[in-house]
Symmetry: D2
Subunit: 345 residues, 4 copies
Amino acid sequence: MMIIMRPGAPKDQIDAVISAVEKNRLIAHPIFGLEQAIIGAVGDGHYVAKEIFEAFPGVLEVQRISKPYKLASRQFHEQDSVFPLDGFSVGGEGIAVIAGPCSVESRSQILEIAQAVREAGAHALRGGVFKPRTSPYSFQGLGEEGLEYLVEAREKTGMPIVVEVMAVSQIAMMEKYVDVFQLGARNMQNYNLLRAVGETRTPVLFKRGLSATIEEMLMASEYILSGGNKRVMLCERGIRTFETATRNTTDINAIPVLKKLTHLPVILDPSHSTGDANFVASIARAAIAAGADGLIVEVHHDPANAISDGKQSLTPEAFAKMVQQVKIIAEAVDRKLAPISHVTA
Amino acid sequence: MMIIMRPGAPKDQIDAVISAVEKNRLIAHPIFGLEQAIIGAVGDGHYVAKEIFEAFPGVLEVQRISKPYKLASRQFHEQDSVFPLDGFSVGGEGIAVIAGPCSVESRSQILEIAQAVREAGAHALRGGVFKPRTSPYSFQGLGEEGLEYLVEAREKTGMPIVVEVMAVSQIAMMEKYVDVFQLGARNMQNYNLLRAVGETRTPVLFKRGLSATIEEMLMASEYILSGGNKRVMLCERGIRTFETATRNTTDINAIPVLKKLTHLPVILDPSHSTGDANFVASIARAAIAAGADGLIVEVHHDPANAISDGKQSLTPEAFAKMVQQVKIIAEAVDRKLAPISHVTA
Amino acid sequence: MMIIMRPGAPKDQIDAVISAVEKNRLIAHPIFGLEQAIIGAVGDGHYVAKEIFEAFPGVLEVQRISKPYKLASRQFHEQDSVFPLDGFSVGGEGIAVIAGPCSVESRSQILEIAQAVREAGAHALRGGVFKPRTSPYSFQGLGEEGLEYLVEAREKTGMPIVVEVMAVSQIAMMEKYVDVFQLGARNMQNYNLLRAVGETRTPVLFKRGLSATIEEMLMASEYILSGGNKRVMLCERGIRTFETATRNTTDINAIPVLKKLTHLPVILDPSHSTGDANFVASIARAAIAAGADGLIVEVHHDPANAISDGKQSLTPEAFAKMVQQVKIIAEAVDRKLAPISHVTA
Amino acid sequence: MMIIMRPGAPKDQIDAVISAVEKNRLIAHPIFGLEQAIIGAVGDGHYVAKEIFEAFPGVLEVQRISKPYKLASRQFHEQDSVFPLDGFSVGGEGIAVIAGPCSVESRSQILEIAQAVREAGAHALRGGVFKPRTSPYSFQGLGEEGLEYLVEAREKTGMPIVVEVMAVSQIAMMEKYVDVFQLGARNMQNYNLLRAVGETRTPVLFKRGLSATIEEMLMASEYILSGGNKRVMLCERGIRTFETATRNTTDINAIPVLKKLTHLPVILDPSHSTGDANFVASIARAAIAAGADGLIVEVHHDPANAISDGKQSLTPEAFAKMVQQVKIIAEAVDRKLAPISHVTA
């Protein structure tokens, strides 16, 4: 931490800051410049908030040096985290592809789509049963009934199921059904929910918030990790910018940046990050070329009549084609689609 | 709704869209242009999601005409909503000022600050007891103990208390203590929480999300309003942009835009929207000059030692000065500080 | 400047950075932390670019302490800069109002509008003769003919004229006509143009770029100031964000931030910053309440038939009303409309 | 164009709009909805600005249907534009790689780097001689002397040279030296410059502005194309967002979006779009995987001592490795590095 004093800050203000630094078990190194003093605060500052010093009289600004997160950091866990799911592993050499509809709409719908994406090469099945809709008047999901259909789809295809959890009160019930909890973009800083999910041992697919920085995403992931749940996949799903040609702006830079900063697996959601089925395959290829460990993609057998996200859903045929392209790109970067160890169906 | 077809879309695609329009109880008016057909969908389209049509084959894009919200809309409720709180009213001619610390830190702290802001002219007291901190290693709030201190402050000063609720599970307990639920920026699209708060009859101070559009904020407010809870104040608190000179960018345009679109009271939080005590009074004045109905401001008697948000907290003296400036601006726009009907302390 | 080394950077890398610091006539103060070394570089670093150090092996990042601009800085010029224009002063106690159409469309148009805004209390007349249009197929301005009409309007009303200059080649010709050069948002970083304008002694109204930070704006203003042209007014005109309810987002925070950082006068353009005549008066009031030194406003006697910017242009009647409101707000913040020393017409 | 009237707009306002539509040689199709009227304006509206209608009394808003550009549009020129440069073609099956230093610093520097990038597989050489620096106190480029060095490098290596032009006054002189004019991000809406470059027959590498939308970029390109200069490459180089982990945010979505909207070649600049040499190769691979036609990359033989952009410059070795990776990705998407037809050196 570097604490920059205002030009002309008197000695007693500087001393007060030095005391505060020492109170936080850091060592103070003052430097007296031409215009102002700067106090270096050295030690294990990961969990010392910079705002502690910002409001001291005479302080101009405080700049962090060490990262404000630790468990997620590659500095403290050099090797890539790899964790097995049912039938494949996430985070190693293999590329994982999660696919399925935005919402579970009916038994036949999810069974049909599950079969199709499995045949096309998907590793896991996604499907929402509680939907965070921007309007209260839109379809809100099938709830537990939807989970039963997903379980049936898992039994028939062998794919683990990935389902968004939206509230603490849903966790206990959902834990019995799902293989991976998805935490949605709108809940990236819903800390109660993060903490509660961190106390389970169900793997988590953790989506970046629409306007969250990469650093904030990593800090938020500490809420889960610090509860002891180590199996967290990070998911870039597009950020909000001024550009309106696409639903969101895919922050492709986030892929290599995250791979450098953290040991956690990093996947990308080209469906939400573009909002348009026309661009999904291009961005899926780009993600893998940039170093992503996997993809989560919306697929629907009848996009025109999908209850939600039809515009950005691939047909099973388009998805199968995308998987083939992704496979070739994976090999071009010396990786491969994650091998599937068994098919129970 | 205007549904714009791709150039060259064949007749059967156009017919399929027309059928879908009619299925949603709207009347279809096709226009055949030089390059493409456009289908106007006329009727009560407030609650028809545009995504229903977006994924149809041949559809290029869909543009809304009617607003996707209704209860919040001034079109359906022309008069300003005014609602009484304990001792004053929000949303009428009077300007309401809510003030207090970011976090309740101790009994003596909140009592001291409450007394000071009341003397300076505040109408209501804010103070957090559950804190949504970006780092799990930061102070997380006093919980119910903090509520008891707030209630004591209310008894001593006569000010109603405004407290952030962060989870559905907190509502029942908090309802017994608080006068106004604050819904924080990070929860603007936590729909379960919105719905649950909408089922109470406790007034709500509803903060805009960091990257939420004005339209999304109004749509989200329908989750509360449609539950029957009509006493919702909207709060602009700064949005996230590329500018880093301030913590957020105050979207001052949102004040007149919201006053035009909705009948709900609109207040501004200059503490979060600037992140710097040096700029709070200027932006507070600007808000009232632009037409805001009130302010919510962070005040701390010892900012240097505040546990959170010290940098953006006014001292009681600076706050008192700000209230005087706001009073003069209010009069300059033919309004006044909201009269306080009684002081119980 | 603080140069933060990577964890584990070897001694020879640290030494190389220290040498580079000294080569730039700064004094190096190394601090050895738990994880990494930090090298403080002390001295007059205003004009030392941080990128000089960023690419050295072992450097993680470089953070500036001193501002990268000097002539514009309040630190080096504590008093507000005040400079007289024809008939009034900018930057002192008085509030200046510049008004007129987006484009000069005809002799009668500009004479009519000039007369109307003068009667309503305007201090100076704006009007474009070279228009930076997003489409090459739109009206591009009357050129020198327009300047002649503006001069006639100046003679008739006594108001100095403010006209945008778009190219170095226009300067010599325009200098003979105009009282203030406007530098438009799209040219904020057109350094050749800035430098050329800095070599004139014509006052400058310098607009912030759509996505320029406040710091970049101040750095760009050094291009003008360092040429010896000291009469620069800074103009906030809205920034580009994700919000689409208004044409731009007025960065009202920029007003107090600029007033703190610089001695130059700061004005606001509520026409471009909102893009909608409905919101101009609200934002004009907010600007003055926040501490702005003036306004520049688009006015047209027939907005529906204006060639450009009709939607955001006030009618003369609405403008007169706005001036009255601004006058009251100015008094509420202990200022007043700038007195007009003579009217030549 | 769809012109949406305010609810309750009287008949004479609707009629006035209909007249204005017809005056612009479009056909008006009014639709009378429950709440408001909508007037469809059908015909060749590409060059009719929507602002013409926005300021009419009673108009709520105007939405475009047809694109506001034509020459750049794929609708009017279905086939990909392919144009030959010296030794290779841009825009066809082959992928072109342009490389070189940010600035030409000396004769030996540019000759050394040119040789190195040619050996690594580059098709063209970049190098700035007029530098748009954010600070007027930074190095501003070698000017014409730099061009002479570039020409010598071209003679020695056979690579055409790509150089940024910053002012109309530089065009005549530069035309004698350069093979491709680069138009920089800060000048994307410097219309005088665009128009002047459009009158030459020198190919153009046209960079997207930091906060320009894809539509604005295409509209600006019409300034060049409408002058008769058809050889324009579009270049995505990162946009400005709230994310600060990288210098800019690479808008990878822009690649497939542009390939759909326009026939012009699309290249990507991973150096500026990331600002960090660590991430350049990942993003270069992603660009090609997403469908880009080429890359422009900063390379320096001694990044630590580069006068500008050292942090984001690849060493020749890292560049050679990147070219190999790009070659493999190109083949994975059924393309290849553009063949080089001759080497004159």
